[in-house]
């Protein structure tokens, strides 16, 4: 590379930028925006198919229905950047509000312990606490015992879902306390609170991952854990925190959707992890760690939900919706490979 350009004395002026690296920079900067043209294209197609698509009502609808999954995508992005993955997020998404409901709701009204032990106001802290505990347990197995993250969280996915089925007896928890439904069902300034929450979390994610020591540590660990350790980053602790934060975010997302539905179905989150991975990867987050951005992940999830919305508005036959969803994901992957370089590896 450029060190072979012989320069006896370093000139005061910086060496003229070589082509390769300046192009690299441009690519890196553009990768974040890689999906914007696609989003615009889908918006136009959607508007042609149904003018309703761009109505405030429908835009809010898209944003609200993606808000919970978007938070899961944010959580997964954090974990992916460190070079791990957390499949169990989809189960935490259901289990955390499920446990809170189980502990709090009145058994007269619906299934639940309702031990009278916990006042309703405790429901939300319990949700977040369950998330934190799941994350800590994942951390114990992955960071402390050195087990493979994919397989640990796969086991946790199954076990946590089983736990929710077990405590709920497979039934839906209804009649949630107001503290649990507030965030998911209220509106601020005419916009559902869950949209605000998800947008704020993404904004925070952009700042933290892009502009703080802790955030950059995630990238360093994902890029080369040994080097990060040698540079004085407490890699184990950071990984642990990342797993806990991701699980707490998943619990929060679960709280939002439980609030929106005013219930915790035993199957809450079932199968969501596929969509979460697809959105993160389409958004340019690398499964090998160290690469990807929170903003990119946001564009990924936005694109996916816009397409699903367009398909619904277009009224595609029910039996073909799954096929089309899959096709959209695959095509988005191939396109992001062609346009954005090695975005998805």
């Amino acid at each position: 590379m450029s060190d072979t350009l012989s320069t006896g004395t370093v000139p005061a002026s910086a060496p003229p930028p070589t082509r390769p690296s300046s192009r690299h920079l441009a690519v890196a900067r553009l990768r974040d925006l890689a999906l914007v043209p696609a989003i615009v294209a889908v918006a136009i197609v959607g508007w042609i198919i149904s003018p309703v698509f761009l109505s405030t009502d429908n835009v809010l609808n898209v944003l609200q229905s993606m808000s919970e999954i978007a938070i899961l995508v944010l959580a997964q992005t954090i974990v992916l950047i460190t070079g791990k993955m957390d499949l169990s997020l989809e189960s935490t998404f259901g289990l955390a509000p499920g446990i809170a409901a189980w502990l709090v709701v009145d058994p007269e009204l619906t299934r639940g312990l309702g031990l009278g032990l916990l006042p309703d106001a405790w429901a939300v802290p319990v949700v977040l606490l369950v998330g934190a505990l799941v994350g800590a347990f994942n951390g114990l197995l992955i960071v402390r015992f050195g087990l493979n993250g994919f397989i640990v969280t796969l086991g946790m996915l199954i076990i946590l879902r089983g736990l929710l089925t077990g405590i709920s007896g497979g039934q839906t928890f209804f009649a949630l306390p107001g503290s649990m439904t507030y965030l998911g069902s209220t509106s601020w300034l005419g916009v559902p609170a869950s949209i605000w929450v998800s947008l704020l979390l993404f904004a925070a994610g952009i700042v933290v991952l892009g502009h703080t020591r802790a955030g950059r540590a995630l990238y360093a660990i994902g890029g080369n854990a040994d080097a990060a350790r040698a540079a004085g980053i407490r890699t184990d602790r950071v990984l642990w925190v990342a797993l806990v934060v991701a699980s707490v975010l998943a619990a929060l997302a679960g709280l939002l959707i439980s609030g929106r539905l005013a219930a915790v179905p035993a199957a809450q989150g079932d199968g969501a992890i596929f969509q979460v991975f697809a959105a993160a990867v389409i958004g340019g987050v690398s499964l090998n760690g160290g690469r990807g951005s929170v903003f990119g992940a946001f564009t990924g999830v936005l694109l996916l939900f816009m397409i699903i919305n367009v398909l619904t508005l277009a009224g595609v036959p029910a039996q073909w919706t799954n096929f089309l969803n899959g096709a959209v994901i695959l095509i988005a992957l191939v396109v992001s490979r062609i346009t954005g370089g090695k975005a998805q590896t």
């Binding site: 149904s50 309703v52 109505s55 009502d57 429908n58 609808n61 609200q64 229905s65 919970e68 009204l109 619906t110 089925t165 007896g169 497979g170 039934q171 839906t172 209804f174 009649a175 069902s185 509106s187 559902p192 959707i257 929106r260 539905l261 005013a262 219930a263 179905p265 035993a266 199957a267 809450q268 079932d270 199968g271 919305n309 619904t312 508005l313 009224g315 029910a318 039996q319 919706t321």
Partner: protein, 333 residues
């Protein structure tokens, strides 16, 4: 006719008969009610139970049936959610002279002693008639379908669409596949409200979408009394306690009460009867249902699945049940 001939008691010598019950799944409200009723009924009927859970997977069901055979059960009660793929298992059980009672679904081929089910097509038709009548034959309704791969969901979808097309051609139906998922149902319903704000009716094929639908109506300010022209008529399906409560509160308008308790009771009763060598004939039964012969050698006891409403007044000439009627299984829980 009636409840069948009391044949000579050639049943099991001495002890209680051992019956294997396979639960089709444990992650829905309805089937969990069934799971809770089965041991109760077994106690009342004096039979011993072996139970398994096939988790909505036909391969598990087959393996569980094998396990029952190894365990030496004398009769099997199952609810195969896949009515085609169960045929080889039925043949195997038949070859071992183990009588089978199927719950909720009717196998496409093969021999079973009795099918105990409520008519899923009737659910769809009842919901259609209720909505069509209440809307006066005009307007738009959304049907939140279950999973495409579920026979019960398909029956409800087909019957509802057929009835709407025939009896209420003025009503436009938006069918939305939801995979039995509450969040999918909520976002599809919301999308429909965005594109067609003048929707006046919702048919949910199961209670899974219940609270999400109510939240959307609340958010859009559509929870108004039926007298208000903005009222959206909501018909649910299952008859779980929460639905009955919501009818009482005026939040939804009707539901179809699937007889979870009767499924448990008569499934075991027919299995026991089969072990004891009794036989049955088509005709009305002693518990308010009718046995019909759906094809050669296949009897089906069609349990009543009443439409539940706030006032219990007949709709479109069909009787309905008031939401607080103590005969409803959702009231006994």
């Amino acid at each position: 006719a009636g409840c069948g001939d009391r044949g000579a008691g050639t049943g099991t010598g001495g002890g209680k008969p051992l019956i294997g019950v396979d639960y089709p799944r444990s992650d829905t409200d309805f089937w969990n009610s069934y799971i809770r009723y089965v041991p109760q009924s077994a106690g009342q009927l004096g039979v011993d139970l072996k139970t398994t859970n096939s988790q909505n997977d036909i391969a598990n069901l087959i393996s569980n049936a094998q396990t029952f055979m190894s365990q030496g059960v004398k009769g099997v009660v199952m609810a195969p959610q896949d009515t085609a793929a169960i045929a080889p298992t039925l043949a195997q059980l038949e070859s071992r002279k183990i009588p089978v009672v199927t719950i909720d679904t009717r196998p496409d081929t093969g021999t079973v002693f009795m099918v105990v089910r409520a008519d899923n097509r009737a659910y769809g038709t009842k919901a259609c008639q209720f909505l069509g009548t209440k809307l006066g034959g005009r307007g738009k309704v959304v049907m939140l379908q279950g999973g495409l791969d579920s026979i019960n969901g398909r029956d409800r979808t087909e019957a509802f669409s057929e009835c709407m097309g025939k009896e209420f051609p003025g009503i436009k139906v938006f069918g939305e596949a939801t995979d039995w998922k509450a969040d999918v149902a909520a976002s599809k319903l919301q999308t429909r409200f965005a594109s067609d704000p003048d929707i006046r009716g919702v048919y949910m094929q199961s209670s899974f979408a219940l609270s999400g639908t109510l939240q959307i109506l609340k958010q859009r300010g559509l929870q108004v009394p039926p007298t208000d022209p903005k009222h959206v008529f909501v018909v649910s399906n299952d008859g779980i306690p929460e639905e009955l409560k919501n009818i009482g509160d005026g939040l939804i308008d009707a539901t179809v009460s699937q007889p979870a308790d009767l499924y448990a009771r008569y499934g075991l009763e027919y299995a026991k009867a089969a072990i004891e060598g009794k036989t049955f004939q088509p005709g009305p039964t002693d518990h308010g249902s009718t046995i019909i012969q759906v094809r050669d050698g296949l009897l089906e006891d069609q349990l009543p699945a009443p439409l539940v409403t706030l006032d219990g007044a007949p709709v479109a000439g069909q009787p309905t049940v008031k939401y607080d009627d103590p005969s409803l299984w959702g009231r006994k829980g």
